[in-house]
Amino acid sequence: MTQFRTLLASAALAALAASAAQAQEVIFLSTQLRPIEEATKVRQIILKGAPGTVTFVVEEPSPFQTRMDAETQAGKRTISMVGALHGELQPLVGSKGLEPVDDLASKARERGVPDGMMALGRLGSDKQMYIPWMQATYIMAAKKEALQYLPAGADVNALTYAQLGDWAKAIQDKTGKRALGFPAGPKGLMARFFEGYLYPSYTGGVVSTFKSASAETMWGEFKALWAHVNPNSTSYDFMQEPLMAGDVMIAFDHVARLKDALNAAPGDFVTFPAPAGPQGRGFMPVVVGLGIAPGAPNRAGAAAAIEHLLKPETQVTMAKELGFFPVVKAELPADLPGGIKLLAEGVAKTQDAKDAVASLLPVGLGAKGGEFNKVYMDTFQRIVLRNEPIREVLETQAKALTAIMSETKAPCWAPDQASQGACPVN
């Protein structure tokens, strides 16, 4: 009898605790979907069906890290749940800002999150550190009026770097405008172009082939192509702006940073994969993950919110409203809005390209991710913008890269060949 009573009491207590947890709000801090229109959609549409109160708060990547570290050091959590890029969640493992979410992993697998993506979510540990939330990638977009200048025999959906160069040159010859643009501004994602697109396409690797002979050829050709690139590219952060303003006609960028242009005038644009080089068509899928902070004020609520965000219907809504694509098994409806449809087409053409070479986001670099990107950006600046000799620059920048790799002991990631210990720089 007493036993039964204890059981009943503890069940009641558990229920009470659970409902208290439900009633208490979950603060969800995200580095993604920061623009006010997107954040509003998350609050009003995406999180509408979530159990309990989920408060969606956004922060730029650097303040995000600072805030997470500050809460860890202070020992006082206000944030229960985080949403950020794979590379932004990585440093939180070292600074104890994430706790394992193995309890949510099996459900995510059941919903069809691919194993490779779940493996990324372990962030190099043997525990599930984040649950994949949504994905995106980088594609190219062009004004339809630019298509008339395509070189003879070139298929826009299967361009090579040489053809892209010829195309941009043809536009420059005919119109006098340098109409090709890259996001090489201070907040642009140009480093990812080198790491996930140019290097894999030319050398089949990113780190291990950094100063190889094929890398030397690659920089030479890219420098030649740059002659037809709009010089304002070193100020472009989001390519949707120069596309809309008509300053460029062809652009490479992250899908979320092309979206506004495509949504504003879906009829004016085409989307297609980035070009291919001798080793194939490099592309880099981007994964956004959801994690839970250790000592979260409302872990149960956060788990319930993650569960809600992974529902196929929520994922389809996110694609429709925000242009980030599902990680679970979900069929995209035929009635997608025009701009999003263009994005989805571009992504599908990129993933399904016969010669696609998928590159992972850098793995295992911890807090050194920023300096890793800097190696590629500095190399670009010196070779392309400052005309320094290619071989010499590759040799000195390789030293900086070697220092980062040996300091972090990060093994190679795809498309580099697997390595024992730190990824070698050749």
Binding site: P186, P231, T234, G369, E371
Partner: protein, 282 residues
Amino acid sequence: MQQSRFVPYLLIAPATLFLTLLFVVPLVQTLALAFSESGAPSLGNVRKMAGDLNFGLSIRNTFLLVLTVIPLQLGLALAMSMMLQKISRGRDLVLWIWSIPLGISDLAAGLVWLSILQDRGYLNSLLFAAGIIDGPTNWLSYEHPISLFVGVVLAEIWRATAIVLVILVAGLQLIPAEYAEAAEIFGASPWTRFRKITLPLLKPSIQSALILRTVLALEVFAVVYALSGRNYPVIVGEAYAWQQVNQNNGVAAAYAMLVMAISLVATLVYLRVLRVRPETQP
């Protein structure tokens, strides 16, 4: 008697406390950040800073900007304040209009100039309408370092000459009118009066204005960032990039220390060179 001895200390206590909390403590922390690596004392961050691609360039650019902008601003502010002296009606209105840029944040000022100087900006619209150019012309890209530099200089002069002006105007009002009147009676020309009376007596104000302006100019960032992105690297811009983009706050702190050291040296130089002996003051 006893009481009055403590009153001054009591009165400066809040300000001292405030500065200690919000300035000295972060300063010591920054110092610690700059000269340590993973908790141990080290010069690694300083070495990394000195070996950085943009290190020399950012120092060169910052000094080039300071050495161009400050003399121009001082000259302009002197001329403007002398002109103000001569105006009797509407003087306050003119002063008020001239000091409008003071009320605008530097990033906003940078954006104002960006809207003028960018490819499809007002300047190009004007030149196009006048038939001087036949399409969007690029002034601010890495391919045109000179026009980029001129753009930054223009924006800085527009934005920050007013602070020098306000200090000089205040200084001019402190100079007794008798000196100039006496000189005029003895037949001194306006130029001689300016050189022999106004300038020497204005020295303390010039000194404060120069110190303030130079320290601020060494920290120039937002205007440059708005106009050029990172096409014109400056020291504080590099500190920002190391903190925000490269996510290495040690090197960012080392850059911050560098700016502080340069500012301190500049201040000491001004204090020494423009020193005013008490007996030469009116």
